[in-house]
């Protein structure tokens, strides 16, 4: 991460301090305080200012946890700067704490010397007790190592919105806009897009719109006044140098949805999406439900099994079947995936991974469904698996999944995670005309050498023909029972099962022939150490390797999109390095697959705190690996974004 060029006081120093390259801000408050909204709008304003950025929304599983409690804290972190940003940042430079609980659960992560902005109006006896503070931390000197700016945001907000005659509760709801106004001032942002947004959002209630705009303006004005005395200072973060083009921000869930729509269009197929609500995957169903004009049918099924079964039914009938879920739901879909493998029908399954097992951590991220994706079905049930590394990468990955599904007549699993699904980043809007189409083909007449129908004949890719019911003369039966290699008729003879098992395996292995060779993200194609990642660890690995290389360390970064089958050169590539380090947000699943596939001594670096890796954690492991030590577990206490549970067991 490009960090404050002049050390931690850059933000809080005197007037002549140069502007930093990048800043990490965390908004934390009660889950009812509107922190995600504040963060989202601040993100938009950041993007409009031309900064690169990455965000990390971190919220509790409860919709409205009891007010003021430690477990009810909702936080939104954003890292933005004038250089390339790949993570949400290790340590915030600024923490906005809307109540004592927010301060308690988040202040530990704040950089030494960083700035705390606290609302004294919420630091009353009751809230302090709920946050398990015996004395007010704003007054007892316990925050000494940070810069503290404490003032009564609640009272200032009430004052600002007084002319609008709102009730006390409604008036206090404008606190987040007051805070956002202050943040906009701090980073020299244009208020107009936010004002436009507020007017649109509260279009039906102009009084609320005006009150919120007044709060926003008041926060902004406060910044200007406070600058004269306090530690508050205004910064201008220069725009990042980006490739010319049209940009927008995109979350992983949005990019997956857009990628699926684009994939279906490239395959020239209508899309059927069968889904069942589950965190953090529901957003995909929400997004697609609004895109009917793109040939999308969405179906909210009665359960996860019906969601995938209906999607398979639609694929059987000639549409692109898609389903999506998170770990527990994916587990329920397992048997149906086997049927799609057995009947060789195209299907895309999106898994937005969350912490497990069982219900686990519904709103927290993890990469622990890799075994489930690659191995988690009964029988020899091979299935391609591909993983997205960032929110915007989801777009390409979704298209790739559709291509493989249609060209190979197979279900394909896409792995994203809770972090990618919710996080936003700027995205250079692609030109769909620049993507090569892969139109689906349907069998129109009998395909056997003697004029017979062979539903399980195979093309050069090992794929069987796709036959739409309704096509004259091609009536046939398919099902989950083992079948004859050509006719598809029930046949569980020893020879038939051997041939079909081999054919299913070879077909999926053959996907490696149409995927790109593995490239090195950063560094050389051989050397002392390679850090191999997959999925959302891309950002922290990228930055950690970059930093280590700046220090002169011999380390490279390889990031694998195709988890199964893997690129055909991956084994040889990895064997060119003395050591292989695999950071994962699980207990070492990809590491095991790499060991199994290539007989290499891949070493794990594991973290399962429900939080993404920090750059520092990976950098330390790189240094250790090159110093003779190897990875190991990240101590949960050392993670710089402590989960709420770790301070409130």
């Amino acid at each position: 991460m490009a960090t404050l060029v002049d050390g931690p006081d850059a933000l809080t120093g005197g007037k002549d301090t140069p502007n930093p390259e990048a800043v990490v801000v965390r908004f934390a408050g009660d889950s009812g305080d509107g922190m995600q909204l504040t963060g989202g709008q601040f993100t938009l304003s950041t993007a409009l200012a031309g900064n690169d950025l990455a965000t990390f929304p971190d919220f509790p599983a409860e919709i409205r946890a009891p007010q003021g409690t430690l477990f009810g804290v909702s936080a939104f972190q954003i890292n933005f700067g004038s250089t390339e940003i790949d993570t949400a940042g290790d340590q915030p430079d600024v923490l906005v704490a809307m109540n004592p609980a927010a301060l308690k659960t988040n202040v530990g992560a704040l950089k030494v010397g960083g700035l705390i902005i606290a609302d004294t109006g919420e630091f009353n006896k009751r809230n302090l007790e709920k946050a398990k503070y015996e004395v007010n931390p704003l007054e007892d000197g316990s925050l000494e190592k940070w810069q503290l700016l404490a003032f009564d945001i609640s009272a200032l907000t009430l004052e600002a919105v007084k002319p609008f005659g709102l009730g006390n509760k409604e008036a206090l709801r404008c606190k987040n806009m007051w805070t956002l106004g202050l943040a906009l001032w701090m980073f020299d942002r244009d208020r107009q897009p936010l004002i436009d947004w507020l007017n649109a959002k509260f279009g039906k209630n102009p009084v609320l719109a005006e009150a919120n705009v007044a709060a926003l303006n008041a926060g902004h004005a406060y910044g200007e006044t406070a600058e004269l005395a306090g530690p508050l200072k205004q910064y201008h973060i220069a725009p990042v140098e980006s490739e010319p083009g049209l940009y927008r921000t995109v979350t992983g869930a949005e990019a997956i949805s857009l990628g699926l729509v684009a994939g279906a269009q490239l395959a020239e197929l209508p899309m059927f999406f069968g889904g069942y609500p589950i965190t953090p995957a529901s957003a995909i169903l929400h997004n697609l439900a609004r895109l009917k004009e793109y040939g999308v049918t969405t179906f909210q099924a009665e359960d996860e099994i019906a969601a995938i079964a209906s999607a398979i039914g639609a694929s059987y009938a000639g549409q692109l079947g898609v389903t999506s879920s998170s770990g527990p739901g994916i587990a329920l879909k397992g048997e149906a995936m086997g049927l799609a493998i057995m009947t060789e029908l195209p299907l895309v399954i999106v898994n937005s991974q969350r912490g497990g097992p069982s219900t686990g951590l519904p709103t927290k991220t993890e990469q622990s469904d890799l075994y489930q994706a690659v191995y988690g079905r009964n029988g020899d049930a091979p299935m391609p698996v591909i993983a997205a590394r960032s929110p915007s990468d989801c777009f390409e990955v979704a298209i790739e999944a559709v291509r493989i599904a249609v060209q190979y007549m197979t279900p394909v699993m896409v792995l994203t995670d809770g972090y990618i699904a919710n996080a936003a980043e700027p995205w250079k809007v692609p030109d769909p005309a620049s993507i090569k189409p892969f139109p689906a083909k349907f069998l129109g007449e009998k395909n056997g050498p003697n004029g017979e129908l062979l539903p399980f004949a195979r093309d050069e890719k090992g794929a069987r023909p796709w036959i739409k019911p309704g096509t004259p003369s091609l009536m046939h039966r398919i099902g989950g029972i083992e079948k004859n290699p050509g006719t598809g008729n029930i046949d569980y003879s020893p020879a038939s099962h051997q041939i079909m098992t081999d054919a299913r395996r070879d077909k999926v292995d053959g996907v490696a022939n149409t995927i790109p060779l593995q490239e090195v993200v950063h560094g050389e194609t051989s050397g002392k150490l390679v850090v191999v990642g997959w999925g959302s660890t891309y950002g922290p690995i990228y930055q950690a390797v970059r930093r280590a290389r700046r220090k002169g360390l011999d380390v490279s970064h390889v990031h694998v999109r195709h988890i199964w089958p893997m690129p055909s050169n991956l084994g040889d590539l990895l064997k060119g390095y003395d050591k292989v380090l695999v950071p994962e947000m699980n207990t070492g699943q990809f590491k095991t697959v790499l060991r199994d596939q290539f007989l290499i001594d891949a070493q794990p670096l594991n973290k399962t705190s429900g939080q993404p890796f920090t750059i520092a954690e990976i950098e330390e492991a790189i240094v250790a690996a090159l110093g003779g030590d190897v990875g190991g577990e990240v101590d949960a206490d050392k993670t710089q974004l402590p989960s709420i549970k770790s301070v409130n067991p």
Binding site: P239, L246, Q265, L291, G313, S315, A336, M475, H476
Partner: protein, 350 residues
Amino acid sequence: MNEMTKIAVQTTLKDWETDQEVRWCPGCGDYAILKAVQRTLPELGADPANTVFVSGIGCSSRFPYYIESYGFHTIHGRAPAFATGIKLANPDLDVWLVTGDGDGMSIGGNHTMHILRRNVNVQILLFNNEIYGLTKGQFSPTSREGTNSPTSPLGSVDRPALPCAFALGSGARFIARAYDVSKNLSAVLKAAHAHKGASFVEIFQNCIVYNKDRFDDFVAKGVADQNQLWLTDGEPMLFGSEKSGGVRGIALDMETLSLKVVDVVDGDWQAAGVIVHNVKNRALAHMLVEMPFGPFPMALGVIYDDPRPTYETVLLGQDEQARKGKDANLAKLLGKGQTWTVSGTAADPI
């Protein structure tokens, strides 16, 4: 379904037979049902290329392999969900769903409920043999209390489910009952096919190996006449005959608001207060599906038939409305929302 596109096709029973060897036990009731279906399809003018049989798992679910149409033998209990996806993807397909008492009422009870509640236009044939056949004779959700089986050596204690009552409770708009060797089965199938929406047909089926002659108390020769009430819309609910010991009918006991059996003297059913069947009367349907066999005859034929718009018509119609006037410009979609343009090195918010 778009009625305009449906063209009656000339076929014979032979056209609906596949080259596959039928693998049910000799004497199984499934053979009779298969023949009845193959005999009925030509009469419906059905087109094999436009017909899909979907099934789950179990003896009944092997059915698609023996019908020369499109067929999808899916997984246990989930056939309704597959059928829903098929109909939403192509509502013009004529979809039949074949299931059993285990597949449709036990492991797949949830999906049976939802396809009925949504009213997807398919014909659901539930073969009820009151036993698990393919797994070798365990009691099923429709087995009678006290059923002796490998998993209930002391007799089952589960109260049996009533498929037709379940279907009605789930919101089904067509409910009928028949049995495997009945000469009326074909007529019931035709009525089910004519109904636009989910039609639910419970077919009592004799499992020759594990539950032999379970339904003999109303299907056996000699008792059938006295114990079968064949329902016809607009006709009085009469059963029995002078030869078999008298004509009787079903009447409403006004005091208890429940059904009762009454004797009909000299054919004067009106005098006996016999109810005239009305397939659109939902309250009556509730009483008929709950009518206990023993004190009452077995209600057979079309119990309830009151169509309403099908799921796929409404859902796809809504989608069609949503598409109106909107163009599917992907480039526009990708660049939606607040965007900014980068030219050279300076950001230029728009």
